[in-house]
Amino acid sequence: MSHRLLLTSLSPVAGSILTNGVVVAVVALLHIQIATYLTGSSTLATVSEAISMARHDERHGRLAHMMVKSQVYLFSTGSAVAILFVLFVLTGLWAIFWTALQQIAFWMLVFEATMFLSEIVLLYALYANWDRLRDNRRTRLALLVLLNISLWWQMFFIDVVASFMLTPNGGDVSILNQVLNPTQLPLTIHRTIGNIAWAGAVTAAIGAFNYLRLTRHSPEPQPDAPSSLRPLHSIGAMAAGHLETEARRAEILHWEWVTQWGVIWAVTLSLMQPWVGYSYAKDIQLHAYGAWYTLMFGDLSNVFLIQIFLLGMIFILASLFFWRRMVRSGAPHARRQLILMVVLILLTLLAVQPAWFAGSYADAIAAAGNHPWWDGGLLNPVGNFIPFKVAALIGMVIFGLWSVTAYATALSRGHIKPGGSSRGAQRAALMLGVTVSLMMMVMGVLREHSRQPYLVYGEITLHQQITNTNPSTPAVPPGQP
């Protein structure tokens, strides 16, 4: 009897790779959405509280409080999902792989789990004592900073494990090599920025949702109303048939401001992601070529195009939001925002052209045209397929930066009037939140699937067999990057 028990405990729970993979995907993607929000929003809550203290601005204080409350509500759910993920999904369905990984990355996982303790203490201390610490805001800020540090380190340790799975550096399992494996730092920077951008997008979406809810039964503000009167008067007009209270008006203004705050953070941080993501991909190319090939040229290349499309949509939706806000406020150079949005749409279309449409290096070779266009060839001015997309990405960054800078300048000059938002602008912000969420899911799918047929690249296969062999590299056309 004991023998049978032992045998049972050593075998993974039965299931196919497909079903087990689907379970992992569902649980992991849910877990990632929550965990990244917690990490990013703790940074934004800290910033917001610091600004509130420095400027004696109650709006920022209220926003920080909202974020802390949302973290408490999500922390419990997120922790439960994490436990489900580790205890049941990984231990049950992927036991051999998980045991091997535990042995390799034992200390990283211990440190990661330890961070939960400090987070629980700090988060619940903040939640329970937020109002009590009203007169001692430095303590409140210090607790927020500590919470931020804890969450960041937790992300760092789990990034060590995640990046090691993709670039295990020939299986060298020393702690230093795990920590400094080739893709660890790019991934950590990518996630640090992405988390804040995601939290900003969630904040914008919450703000937009509340704004739309509060103005649901009201007509939109009239664009032809005098600009000096439009903001508050238009909100007053929105309350058709209702006696609008000052409190409600203040609420609308607050959520409008929250949306704007979130959009600016989301898009500004996202602007850095093409650089960071591209560098991350470059390190994958240098150290896990097969995975990189799968992403760029192989089975996942079309999924990667979805990723690029979603990135473009972030910039387009943000510039749409900025444009609508500037138009409604009568801000100078509003038309420039419209032009920037059109340019961003064109750049996104340029970047998402699939190989069969844009032509690849292999196509150019087949047509005996693998030399530059000025030499009568088929290659575009800046090289072949990949540089073509890189140029489009660089363009997105430059014009996206222009867009957010133009809006921030208008804001700092007092050209954006509170209360002047349209419901369309708020819908764009809501869409921005959805887009960023989708993008994170696609990114998770891309990274996890690029390793296939390995779980730990070149070391453990999808069938949980430990190989310790170098992965084969797919054939690549000559001259391909």
């Binding site: 960071v276 560098s279 001015p381 800046v382 957010v404 800078t405 133009a406 804001l411 700092s412």
Partner: protein
């Protein structure tokens, strides 16, 4: 008679008459007084000390460089041996070499901070545009000195750095190959390359550097230290125009600054340069130099094996301050984008930095009210730091 009378005079009187004679001919006391007792803004003195620290570190480089010249032989056959001798047989010489290296590292870091401070406080705006331009050129000259200095030891690192760096001009269209040949003294790196790089390092660049330092200091004295916006705030409870008028009326030279918005013509409160600001300047400079002395002693300056052009497996690694550029070249795909990256993106970046005062013409001085320059600049700073981090990561995983 005259001589005996001079000898019989009291010592103090003789000293005074000697000093008067010197003052009469040079005006030194007046110059010293003018230099020491000028007004500077009261708030933010520690941040302004970065400028003086930069000057102190440049002087340290000058003196430690002179000491190194006593031993260093600028020839491909002897350059490495002369430095190897310092390492193995001359402890003081090795220490001085360490000072020179760590002094250069610290200088680049401090000059970067100084520029960042100037940028954030908008001190480059009218009428101080040329202060910024001369400072930016000084920064580029210091980088030039650093890279040419890294080529001189003629060890493996220096040889391959020389090979890579002298090849960079090749990417310039039309004239690139000519510049490369001129610098190398032929198609390949060789003895003339070292001689020319040495001449650039100890004569050409220092001449330009010290000329520009003179101009930079002159302009600083002419317009006065701007400081930061905090020195120009007004009390919201009383008449702003009256406060500014009162400030300008009792301002000491070099304030009120000419050709500037009235609000920024004179700081709210000033202190004399001596002793207030000079104390901070000296303390910061001394601390930095002390750190450099210790690092020079503990860590010294590395020296690889002698240069061997026949090596096939040596991977050259750049100095830390060129890591962002190096990483940028790594991620730039294919030759056309390398050329665009080196001379397009960096050229545009350098031009934007150089001509910043002529691009940002607004009157705003507070960082949060200048998002049109602060956001792109922060983006660039982030990119540089990010590439540096990735560069370190890449070198570790080579």
């Amino acid at each position: 008679m005259i001589i005996s009378r001079w000898f019989t005079r009291p010592f103090k009187s003789r000293l005074r008459s000697g000093a008067d004679w010197f003052e009469d001919r040079t005006g030194a006391t007046e110059l010293l007084h003018k230099g020491l007792y000028e007004a500077v803004p009261k708030k933010g003195g520690w941040a302004y000390a970065l400028g003086s620290a930069t000057l102190a570190l440049i002087l340290l480089q000058l003196f430690s460089g002179i000491f190194l010249l006593l031993d260093y032989v600028p020839s491909v056959s002897e350059a490495f041996n002369s430095l190897d001798y310092l390492r193995t047989s001359d402890g003081f010489g090795a220490w001085v070499r360490g000072l020179h290296l760590w002094g250069a590292y610290t200088l680049i870091f401090v000059i970067g901070l100084h520029m960042l401070r100037t940028f954030l406080s908008a001190s480059y705006k009218r009428p101080r545009e040329l202060n910024w331009v001369s400072g930016a050129v000084l920064f580029f000259l210091v980088l030039g000195l650093a890279i040419t200095g890294a080529m001189l030891p003629w060890d493996q690192a220096a040889y391959w750095t020389t090979t890579v760096v002298t090849n960079i001009p090749h990417y310039i269209p039309f004239i690139g190959d000519g510049i490369r040949t001129l610098w190398r003294g032929g198609d390949f790196v060789g003895p003339i390359t070292l001689t020319r790089t040495f001449a650039i390092h100890i004569w050409v660049l220092p001449f330009l550097l010290f000329s520009l330092i003179g101009a930079h200091l002159y302009l600083l004295r002419r317009h006065g230290e701007f400081g930061a916006w905090v020195n120009y705030d007004t009390d919201p409870d009383s008449d702003e125009e009256k406060q500014i008028g009162e400030r300008i009326r009792r301002a000491e030279p070099p304030y009120p600054t000419k050709r500037i918005e009235r609000r920024y013509a004179a700081p709210r409160e000033t202190v004399p340069f001596f002793p207030n600001q000079l104390f901070k300047d000296v303390l910061l400079s001394t601390l930095l130099i002390a750190v450099i002395f210790v690092m020079g002693l503990i860590s010294g300056a590395p020296l690889d094996g002698a240069a061997d052009p026949a090596t096939l497996n040596y991977v050259p690694t750049p100095e830390w301050f060129f890591l962002p550029l190096d990483q940028f070249l790594v991620v730039a795909p294919q030759n056309p984008l390398i050329a665009i990256g080196v001379f397009g993106v960096l050229g545009i970046g350098a031009a934007l930095m150089l001509f910043l005062p002529f691009i940002d013409r607004s009157h705003e001085r507070r960082p949060l009210r200048r998002p049109e320059v602060i956001i792109p600049a922060l983006f660039m700073v982030f990119t540089v730091i990010f590439f540096a981090v990735l560069g370190i990561n890449r070198l570790y995983n080579l």
